[in-house]
């Protein structure tokens, strides 16, 4: 049995805001029955103030999927759409007092349903760029789809590199065999032997203060900004939390199909500069500019 928090259990056994919301004017539907979880989020939005007056859900899924949906509705009621868009899957997980790594996808589904519902209200297209595979690294909750994608895009061939790019395998190391298998499949060859010793030149970088780190990150983003501006967009550093770098993208970057790739590009550059794994995440769906 999963080690669910009392909050998860409570919101599963006594879910709030369930059922059809007849007067909904924003509906977000994500997931599918074949995936094993699906969520319909219904919002009643005040057209004058953009405030979410009511929110209800219907969910097909496990205990944590139902609890995450319930948490989401509690989190967004009374907020404006822009405020609601700042809610991330981490906020949902935190509201629940945490979720097992295997179940984090439930909170992701909640955040996606919210974005889909708001896009629906605003008459925008919402495209999901999210692909899910079997959980490989339980320490950092990294699934096979992400490892495969990163390995392919960056031509990676060793477990060490995968850890560097995704963190997967950097904890208890029990998943190294699985990572080797993924690499072998991606590279179409037998698994490479694990490199035993690191080259001496690649000594651990000197510890950085938070200020130094932020300055470096900021410099990289400034350096990359012209490329975005050329495409009619922009990018700003929002916050740094440990090894997570939050950025806001605006303008044409916002709905750009390849924003995922843009982010991985920034991430790649940051890791090279900082010499340590970092994860770049969009801070929130940015506000529509000039509409």
């Amino acid at each position: 049995m999963w080690d669910y928090t009392d909050k998860v259990k409570d919101l599963f056994f006594n879910p709030k805001n369930t059922g059809v919301l007849e007067e909904a004017n924003a509906v977000g539907e994500v997931g599918s029955i074949s995936c094993g979880d699906a969520l319909r989020l219904m919002l009643k939005v005040d057209p004058d103030t953009d405030v979410i007056l009511d929110a209800r859900f219907q969910t097909f899924g496990c205990g944590s999927a139902i609890a995450s949906s319930s948490a989401l509705t509690e989190l967004i009621k009374g907020k404006t759409l822009d405020e609601a868009l700042k809610i991330t899957n981490q906020d949902i997980a935190e509201f629940l007092g945490g979720l097992p790594p295997e179940k984090m996808h439930c909170s992701v589904m909640g955040a996606e349903a919210l974005h889909a519902a708001i896009a629906n209200y605003r008459g925008e297209e919402w495209a999901d760029d999210h692909e899910e595979g079997a959980l490989v690294c339980k320490c950092f909750a990294i699934d096979s789809a992400l490892i495969e994608k990163v390995a392919r895009e960056n031509h990676l061939s060793t477990v060490e590199e995968i850890t560097f790019y995704t963190k997967a395998g950097g904890g208890c190391q029990s998943c190294h065999e699985q990572i080797e298998d993924i690499l072998a499949a991606v590279n179409g060859s037998a698994p490479l032997p694990v490199v035993a010793a690191k080259p001496a030149a690649k000594a651990a970088p000197a510890p950085m203060t938070m200020v130094q780190k932020i300055q470096k990150i900021s410099a990289v983003i400034d350096e990359m900004r012209p490329q975005f501006q050329m495409d009619g967009g922009n990018i700003e550093l929002v916050d740094v939390d440990g090894d997570t770098v939050m950025v806001a993208m605006s303008g044409s970057c916002m709905n750009c199909q390849s924003s995922g790739i843009t982010i991985s590009g920034i991430q790649e550059r940051l890791m090279l500069t900082l010499g340590r794994p970092v994860r770049v995440v969009p801070a929130s769906m940015p506000q529509a500019v000039g509409v």
Binding site: M1, W2, K9, F12, F13, P15, T18, G19, G28, E29, V30, G31, S32, I33, S34, C35, G36, D37, A38, L39, R40, Q58, T59, F60, G61, C62, G63, A65, I66, P100, E102, K103, H105, E112, A116, W126, A127, D128, H130, E132, A134, L135, D181
Partner: protein, 402 residues
């Protein structure tokens, strides 16, 4: 609170008589059976009695044909690896798509890393093996066939005797994972064509951590664990004395209860299944109704998800398990149900109720009373369920990604 333990295919309670019997072997007769002093007591003798009991349960001719192991998985791995080791020129394996991971992940490993060709024989909607595909896959290249006796999720029984005879004609060894079948199906290895059979103690009221592998005399064999002389050098490692003694007694009791399992337990299972299906629409039983373990009921509840059902059942004291893999973190439903082509709408909401000789009528009644309202409650939450049943047509729920 009243409760109902309906998860006996996962594991059973250690029979109190078994527990009582083995306790002194922890506290008083804790000596190593190989030692030359009295702390070993009569342990050595008790181990041989236990072997005779397992021998009787399986209808085995010689007691030396029984090798004690640590679990069903070890027995399975030992059997397959041994069969491959003694026939290096044969490079193919046949198994089924619905085997336990103890077989499937080993076969997958052998395929990807050792260059073996593995034939995975499909099943039909009732979980019955395709004998045509099996016959087509058999050849002189096949080193070993491994087919489960009865499926852990649906209880479907495979015609292993026929399959073993067919394997023999091609000179292939035949192994069966009989972990779910032993104690529920009468076995007579003396008249069987099966070469190797795996069993596990904790499925028949012995503790966890003890299993056995039957290897027919004359079958060439290579140990997986090398070391001491234990089990005639075929499975090194100090004997799990308490486990072995427990398994022996559990085997005696299983033999005594064989008829009970197939009459009383079967009737309870049938009542449970019929009781639920009579009350819940859009639900159906899985498996081969003609050839099925007497204790297993697999019921699919459409448009809801298994883990949620289990959590609500657990809250009212009912222990069952799900065919849904959400319980294991992956979103794919069970490989067994998918292999049977059970639609996704139902596979995710499949619950297995597995009974034992300890199951009471009151437990069955509790399940029949508590399950229908739980299913109804979850369906009210489901986007696929409307006021009058499923809504999968026209302006149905159409999420963004599939």
């Amino acid at each position: 609170m009243s409760s109902a333990y309906m998860d006996n295919n996962a594991t059973t309670r250690v029979d109190p008589r078994v527990l009582e019997t083995i306790l002194p072997y922890f506290s008083e007769y804790y000596g190593n059976p190989s030692s030359m002093h009295s702390f070993g007591g009569d342990v050595g003798k008790r181990l041989e009695e236990a072997r005779a009991s397992v021998q009787a349960l399986l209808g085995v001719e010689h007691d030396s044909e029984i090798i004690f192991t640590s679990c069903g998985t070890e027995s399975d791995n030992t059997a397959i690896l041994s069969a491959l080791a003694i026939q290096p020129s044969r490079r193919e394996i046949i198994t089924s798509v619905v085997e336990h991971p103890a077989i499937l992940s080993l076969c997958d490993h052998l395929e990807r890393h050792e260059g073996y060709k593995v034939h995975y024989i499909p099943v039909d909607r009732l979980g019955r093996i395709s004998m045509e595909a099996y016959a087509a896959a058999l050849s002189e290249q096949v080193a070993v066939v491994s087919m489960m006796y009865a499926n852990n999720e649906t209880g479907t029984i495979f015609p292993v005797e026929t399959m073993a005879r067919m394997a023999k004609e091609k000179g292939a060894l035949f192994h069966t994972d009989a972990v779910q079948a032993v104690g529920k199906i009468a076995l007579n290895m003396q008249e069987s064509a099966i070469d190797m059979l795996s069993l596990s103690g904790h499925k028949l009221h012995a503790p966890k951590g003890i299993g056995a592998l039957y290897v027919r005399r004359g079958t060439r064999y290579r140990p997986m664990l090398r070391g001491g002389h234990q089990e005639r050098g075929r499975r090194a490692g100090t004997e799990n004395t308490t486990g072995i003694i427990a398994l022996g007694l559990a085997a005696d009791m299983a033999l005594e209860h064989m008829e009970y399992e197939n009459t009383v337990v079967r009737a309870l299972r049938d009542r449970l299944e019929a009781g639920i299906l009579a009350q819940v629409p859009y639900a159906f039983a899985n498996g081969d109704p003609e050839h099925r373990l007497p204790n297993t009921a697999s019921i699919s509840f459409e448009y809801i998800e298994g883990e949620a059902i289990l959590m609500l059942l657990s809250r009212v004291g009912i222990a069952a398990s799900s065919g849904s893999a959400c319980t294991s973190g992956s979103l794919e439903p069970s490989h067994v149900l998918r292999a049977m082509d059970i639609p996704y709408t139902a596979a995710h909401g499949t619950i297995r109720f597995s009974l034992s000789r300890e199951t009471t009528e009151a437990e069955v009644d509790l399940v029949i009373a508590q399950t229908p309202p739980i299913i109804e409650q979850l369906r009210r939450l489901s986007p696929y369920w409307g006021a009058n049943g499923p809504i999968l047509t026209d302006n149905a729920f159409a999420p963004v990604y599939a």
